[in-house]
Symmetry: C2
Subunit: 308 residues, 2 copies
């Protein structure tokens, strides 16, 4: 296990005055503060784990959704094992990252802001509504809503381009892989797979916010895709149309000779899932469904025979 | 292994207008944005690992320094194993955290800022100077300076109080523990140990920015303390005085019946270390020195006898 930052660039700040900072810890000393120099920006934090025995034929990359971090895939808000642990137990090398400017990827507090517009935070109730966590019969562990709320981080809405660049840098670093992506991460995953289909052996998109450029559907011809949707889609103001657009893209990919499978969890007997399906009460069953799909694509080695 | 957020509080925002956001992903739909509601703030992210066999008698908590995150303890900038991995290999349960508002702890981008003053980022050259990475003969892997620069995150200078509160909440959650703290983390560790000496079996402070309240030195009477300093202290504008203050506090603790050991690494044959000594070329030797000190305090179980 280990971690690294990938991608990004340097920006240089010049000509600003040097000041004295008051002590930065009680009992410490004042410090000279010189804001001029090089800042590393738009990099992405990645933490990886390689289990033994290794059964996944390629690394599995977890890409979280907007306003959150890789913490989504770790322990669930109610304290159970998340998909990171589950896929590790199943023998997959897992790379879990924080998108550019989120979490441990860092963001630059420069004298002149690097990106247009201000970052946004959303309140817990708003997340609960937008992510369909508050519907009757939900699988979301509602007693842990505040623990989930602690996972939320600000998002800029003007960082898509550097975020995509860092994801592409990650693909180049890991080589051929499986991407499991959620929501905004799904949008990045489709765009990345369209740019580098040679590096994506399979793409699992959990309620993707978007599915890439329709004009380039054919570039996904050799990338098996699984689309997964939870429950309560029909009554939502946005998800019926977002799902419809994804299904249109799926048709276009199939038309170009590709393969897209669509799983609506309720049709598979998994009812009550929200947008945050990787952390809900039945998160193991949903993960197992994804794993079976990967196994059926030949991406997981069979275990060594007992006594062999 | 797993993770959680600890501490923090809720703040409520009211009376602001609801707006429409443009699509947050290309090809996605506009979304209603309601900033009113509860935000969870000032929590701290903690990731933990429990190895087998377990030999540390209590959990070991890693507290990073200012302007950085728990990533400091993971893979070194030049790609070697960090102290997180080393202490895990040695059989310690390790809890690695991001201080309040840093990294995965998140910060709230509220319409009215929560904290006074703006966050600060520092350029790489400034970090290199302040952390003494650029001295001739340095153990710092200078070829990896940019990878180190990617670890830097903004810091507010007005969040000491909620940061300390979250560290205290962590101590209550883990129970009795060893704290290994660096720089600003060292300042928090001394303050936390003075509040809850019953929960700190030992405190290892790597170049602490400060060493707690001199008036309360006696509260550290039953907490064995190790102070560790690197090289190039004498020529620095701040560190001779910061070290002198720590040694005065050490004297006061000893006077009250406590035990404080001070290790200047060059006096132990470990030359060339900067402020970032946990990630330098000889980081394993420095970690081993800390481990031997913990062993001498009876905090690590001997291995089971071979064949036993």
């Amino acid at each position: 296990m280990g971690s690294f930052h990938v991608g990004g660039r340097a920006v240089t700040v010049e000509g600003l005055p040097v000041t004295q900072q008051p002590p930065l810890a009680p009992g410490s000393l004042p410090a000279r503060f010189d804001p001029n120099g090089r800042y590393l920006v738009e990099q992405m934090y990645v933490q990886y784990f390689v289990p033994e025995p290794l059964r996944g034929r390629v690394p599995l990359l977890l890409w979280h959704g907007g306003g959150m971090t890789g913490v989504n895939w770790e322990t669930t808000p109610d304290g159970r094992e998340g998909w990171l642990n589950l896929f590790l137990r199943w023998g997959w090398a897992v790379f879990n990252c924080d998108a550019v400017e989120r979490g441990r990827s860092g963001w630059p507090a420069l004298p002149v802001p690097l990106w247009e517009a201000d970052p946004l935070s959303i309140p817990v109730e708003h997340a609960a509504e937008r992510f369909r966590l508050d519907r009757p019969g939900s699988q979301f562990p509602r007693e842990a809503m505040e623990q989930f709320g602690r996972q939320l981080v600000p998002r800029w809405v003007t960082t898509d381009e550097p975020a995509l660049a860092a994801y592409l840098a990650l693909l180049e670093r890991t080589g051929p892989c499986v991407i499991v992506a959620h929501s905004q991460g799904g949008s990045f995953a489709f765009q990345a797979a369209q740019r580098r289909p040679d590096l994506v052996r399979a793409l699992v998109a959990l309620e993707p916010a978007a599915t890439g450029d329709p004009k380039d559907a054919g570039r996904l011809r050799d990338v098996p895709v699984l689309l997964v949707y939870g429950d309560f889609i029909e009554d939502d103001p946005r998800w019926p149309e977002m799902r419809r657009r994804a299904l249109a893209q799926a048709d276009a990919v199939r038309h170009a000779g590709g393969q897209v499978d669509v799983v609506d969890l309720p049709a598979h007997g998994l009812r009550g899932n929200s947008h945050m399906l990787m952390m809900e009460r039945n998160n193991r069953e949903v993960a197992a469904l994804v794993r079976r799909w990967l196994q059926a694509r030949g991406l997981e080695q069979a275990p060594a025979p007992a006594g062999g």
